[in-house]
């Protein structure tokens, strides 16, 4: 059995602090295992992206939200959702890659180095090494090593997304969040990214939201199926996709709804 890297405990979440109605996430509990890929699946509006964005307190950017429960990072026991914890500290530990490739309109080098620079690292040789290392990990080094000063906007969509992955890796996050990382990409770029995250899990723990069931089945080790804010089923992907315990899961993965 693998070690637990992060653990969601009875997480209930509402966007509105005063809301008394149904929460967006309803008492979700979920383990995230170290050096593996956990996929969050479910129909639109099930709360999978909302759950993902709890992991780096992204919701805090948009005013008062209500978290109940915990997300504990192991082995430190750091509670991401604690009121005493500054969201900045969380985001320094947890990296994120978004649905649409969103490189900064700066050079490729600047994009990768940005996370380190805002942490106060100025030493050029260290930054150079880190940029090269991260681009290599993201499988982009060969394509861009001769034009690090070129604008990131000139890259193709798939390259931009790998650049965003490199940018997130540069700060050595404990956990990497991927929010439908291939939904804006063509099939070839998608295959590239999937292959890449399969490599990445050797060094980083990955939590990924995906709309694409084939992707979840192919690329992930564990799968969590969510429906209307509830976690319906969690298990090893091979089990969830071939032999689901819950009827709702079966209906969803066989395409009966969603």
């Amino acid at each position: 059995m693998k070690n637990i890297k992060a653990e969601v405990k009875n997480l209930t979440f509402s966007y509105d602090k005063t809301s008394t109605g149904r929460p967006v996430l309803n008492s979700v509990s979920l383990p995230v295992f170290e050096n593996s890929i956990t996929a969050l699946i479910g129909p639109s509006g099930c709360g999978k992206t909302t759950l993902l964005r709890c992991f780096n307190r992204m919701h805090d950017l948009y005013g008062a939200v209500k978290y109940e429960g915990k997300i504990i990072l192991q082995p430190s026991g750091f509670d991401i959702l604690s009121k005493q914890v500054d969201p900045l500290e969380v985001r320094m530990k947890v990296g994120m890659v978004f649905q649409k490739p969103n490189p900064f309109p700066k050079s490729i080098y600047e994009n990768v180095a940005y996370g380190l620079k805002i942490r106060g690292i100025k030493k050029k040789s260290y930054l150079d090494d880190k940029v090269e290392d991260s681009l290599k990990k993201a499988g982009l080094w060969k394509e861009v090593s001769d034009r690090l000063k070129a604008s990131a906007s000139a890259l193709s969509g798939g390259q931009q997304q790998r650049l965003c992955i490199a940018r997130a890796l540069a700060t050595e996050p404990e956990l990497l969040l991927l929010d439908e990382p291939t939904s804006a990409l063509d099939p070839i770029s998608t295959a590239h990214i999937e292959e890449l995250i399969g490599e990445l899990k050797k060094t980083v723990t990955i939590l990924m939201v995906t709309h694409n069931l084939h992707q979840a089945g192919r690329a992930s080790d564990f799968t969590a199926f969510m429906y209307l804010g509830d976690l319906i089923e969690f298990g090893e992907s091979s089990q969830v996709f071939t032999n689901p315990k819950e009827e709702k899961t079966e209906n969803y993965i066989t395409g009966r709804f969603g």
């Binding site: 992204m58 950017l61 005013g63 978004f98 900064f104 996370g115 805002i118 940018r167």
Partner: protein, 307 residues
């Protein structure tokens, strides 16, 4: 029942296309009308004024004799006043715009401020003049100085700079902000390394257009006491003796281009009207150059960022 023969459909298309042609002509007519009037005005002014423009015209102080009068005091005054205006209004306006877009919580309070800034942008300039007269001239005791004029025009263009700054910032897609925050950046780091650089073109365009408006303003400066006849320049900011720099020029009396024009045009002698037309050409060129600069900046930056 939806039942249309092909002939009917073609007839329909013909009718709709005719509508297009009609509107095309109406638009062209209106546009041509506006252009013709504008060119007639410029042509008329140019006809009278251009022969009067020569080196002496720029280097002479105003005079009782129309032939010897020049715009030296006026253009130097305009430059000094606009410099003060820019130094005050740009930092204040840009900072306010950034604050309202990136920092202020979105609620009834920020909506109220937003509404009031829009209202301020529409307040007649003479009202700013009256306010500046009682506040800057009398209350602060700044007299009829370049500083007063710069502050007055600064207030006048502040809402324009705030509004254009906000609009420029709003063109930055939210996923760029999220990318920065997700890496652990603070608000200030995000503003400094992303928000301001990416909206710089839009902000500068707004700033330049606001300044070109300030150069042409007359009414508020009449109220705060621009002097119409002035035969000396402001104190130079650098001196040969210690402490070498001087801010005395800020407190000097001044005149500006549009007021010099206004003064000449209100004289009965025809020769002074020629001077006014010549000064008008110079003023118009100044604003046109600024506007062209604004277009250039916008074009440069629009090409630079594709989201």
């Amino acid at each position: 029942m939806f039942d249309q023969t092909n002939a009917k459909l073609l007839q329909q298309i013909k009718f709709l296309k005719a509508q297009d042609v009609v509107f095309w002509f109406v638009g062209l007519f209106v546009l041509a009308g506006a252009f013709i009037i504008l060119f007639a005005l410029i042509y008329d002014m140019g006809q009278t004024g251009i022969p009067r423009i020569n080196q002496e015209f720029f280097l002479n102080f105003p005079s009782r004799f129309a032939g010897r009068a020049g715009i030296l005091a006026a253009w130097v005054g305009s430059l000094c006043v606009v410099l003060v205006t820019a130094l005050l209004a740009i930092p204040l306006g840009v900072a306010t715009g950034v604050y309202l877009e990136e920092y202020a919580p979105k609620g009834w309070f920020s909506r109220m401020i937003e509404l009031n800034i829009l209202n301020l942008a529409g307040v007649p300039s003479i009202i700013y003049g009256i306010m500046a007269l009682s506040l800057f001239v009398y209350e602060f005791g700044l007299k009829q100085s370049i500083l007063t004029a710069g502050m007055t025009l600064g207030l006048l263009i502040l809402p324009i700079i705030i509004v254009t700054t906000r609009e420029a910032i709003r063109t930055i897609p939210n996923h760029i902000r999220e990318a920065s925050y997700a890496l652990g950046a603070t608000k200030w780091q995000t503003v400094r390394s992303h928000i301001v650089p990416y909206s710089f073109g839009g902000i500068m365009t707004g700033v330049v257009i606001a300044l070109s408006r300030a150069i042409g303003e007359t009414a508020p400066l009449l109220t705060v006491g621009a002097v119409a006849f002035i035969a000396f320049l402001p104190t130079p900011p650098v001196m040969a003796v210690a402490p070498y720099v001087s801010a005395q020029w800020l407190m000097d009396p001044y005149t500006v281009m549009p007021i010099q024009m206004f003064n000449w045009i209100s004289r009965p002698q025809e020769e002074f009207h020629v001077n006014a037309a010549a000064a008008g050409i110079v003023l118009l060129s100044m604003t046109l150059v600024l506007n062209a600069l604004a277009i250039f900046i916008r074009y440069r930056f629009r090409k630079k960022y594709k989201w």
